[in-house]
Symmetry: C2
Subunit: 249 residues, 2 copies
């Protein structure tokens, strides 16, 4: 169990050492870490009894059948409300991406009437953790801080990157040749860090079986920094779907 | 290179045998196969010179800057047009899911002026392949037929299942305990087959480096059939986003 102030790099290195018969981390490994334990280490736990909902939070809580105090926290973390329906509050986070409840969650928190916010700046958290792991091991390591998001069109949560360091977040394939030399189209973008996050969801699971750190070996990342998680998020105003369908006040 | 009429199960078994030093497939393996090679084996190649676009196809081709003959094929495969913009034609496929261009694609096809449709019934294709692989090996094998789709909110294509057999498409986690015994919420659905498809995209890549078959070992699937790919698709009329924003005629 991770608590506020814990040194995640040290915890990860010691857990990796304990688990394996080979070296704990090798050059080119990507360490996928849930945003949840990053938030816990950063002390992002909020006591709901300390939250005073605004009138807007009360209105949206009534529409969505959600706790007005949690809705208040969601609104504080959000730039726009995209959809509010019974059971659904989808927002564009101040960090740029669109997701349900601004990533605020009560699962695996372990304290009644408390919720956990996302890390304050998960891109920076990823960069710090990457630096700590690379320095401690002396080899290039990549880091992806992960979450799982629901999605339009399909059922179920898949992995997304909240922060990424030491590997490309997005790989542009436009113009690369196919098997027959024909150039790939503009649609060919490979969201490497999100795919790593989905692999971590597949292997890490959820609930009581959840494993908060997954080592992805064999991708051969070089530890360089090119771009950031912002490469994976469609900029506000350019997405056909991240648009409010009405005025949410 | 896969051609019409090829026996995919035989090709997969012989390629797996050639590659490894252990047994080619072991019980519990999931074989992720791109829809592209399933389509090729099923002869879903269409010569565009044989396609006569309708007036509606011409109109939508003008809006989207796309080949009217390809748009005609997209419309024949679709139940509804969700968005048409320059460079974008997003439809709900007659198979139920929503994606760009009804999955019709010219990459890795290898013949000018030809495109490949999706398998006619990829769920049935998955079931047949699963039966053939399980019978040939004598152990339970899972099969996921995969594609990659773009997505609202985020950049890049992730993996989706077009057909699934021998493993759960979707795992419902609602009510399962978290680390502290608190029940997980209704949002906790684990889209196992889509996550396998994303792992296959991560490992298989795209373009000239593309690997059309990926073996996912260690998930321990039991080969049973529970549900289908339909479990992963939000039913028409229930999705907040798979809704046309105007009349596309």
């Amino acid at each position: 169990m991770v608590a506020e102030g814990d040194d995640l790099a040290a915890l990860i290195l010691s857990a990796a050492q304990a688990g394996g018969d080979g070296p704990s981390l090798v050059g080119g490994d990507v360490v996928a870490v849930t945003g949840k334990i990053v938030s816990k280490a950063e002390g992002r736990l909020v006591d709901l009894s300390s939250v005073e909902p605004s009138p807007r939070a009360h209105r949206l809580a009534a529409v969505t059948d959600k706790d007005a105090r949690v809705v208040e926290l969601v609104l504080r973390e959000s730039a726009a409300v995209i959809r509010a329906r019974p059971g659904v509050l989808l927002v564009t986070h101040t960090l740029g991406f669109t997701s349900a409840m601004a990533g605020i969650d009560a699962s695996n928190v372990g304290r009644d009437d408390h919720v956990l916010l996302l890390p304050e700046n998960p891109q920076r958290s990823a960069e710090r953790l990457q630096e700590a792991l690379s320095t401690a091991t002396g080899v290039p390591i990549g880091v992806v801080i992960t979450d799982s998001h629901g999605r339009p069109f399909r059922v179920g949560n898949t992995g997304v990157a909240l922060g990424v360091a030491g590997l490309d977040a997005l790989v542009e394939l436009e113009g690369e040749p196919d098997l027959f030399g024909r150039a790939l189209s503009t649609a060919s973008k490979f969201p490497l860090a999100d795919l790593v996050a989905s692999a971590a969801v597949l292997l890490g699971g959820e609930g009581s079986q959840g494993t908060p750190v997954v080592i992805v070996r064999g991708l051969g990342v070089d530890g360089g920094r090119r771009g950031s998680v912002a490469d994976l998020v469609r900029p506000v105003g350019t997405d056909m779907f991240a648009v409010p369908d009405r005025d949410y006040g």
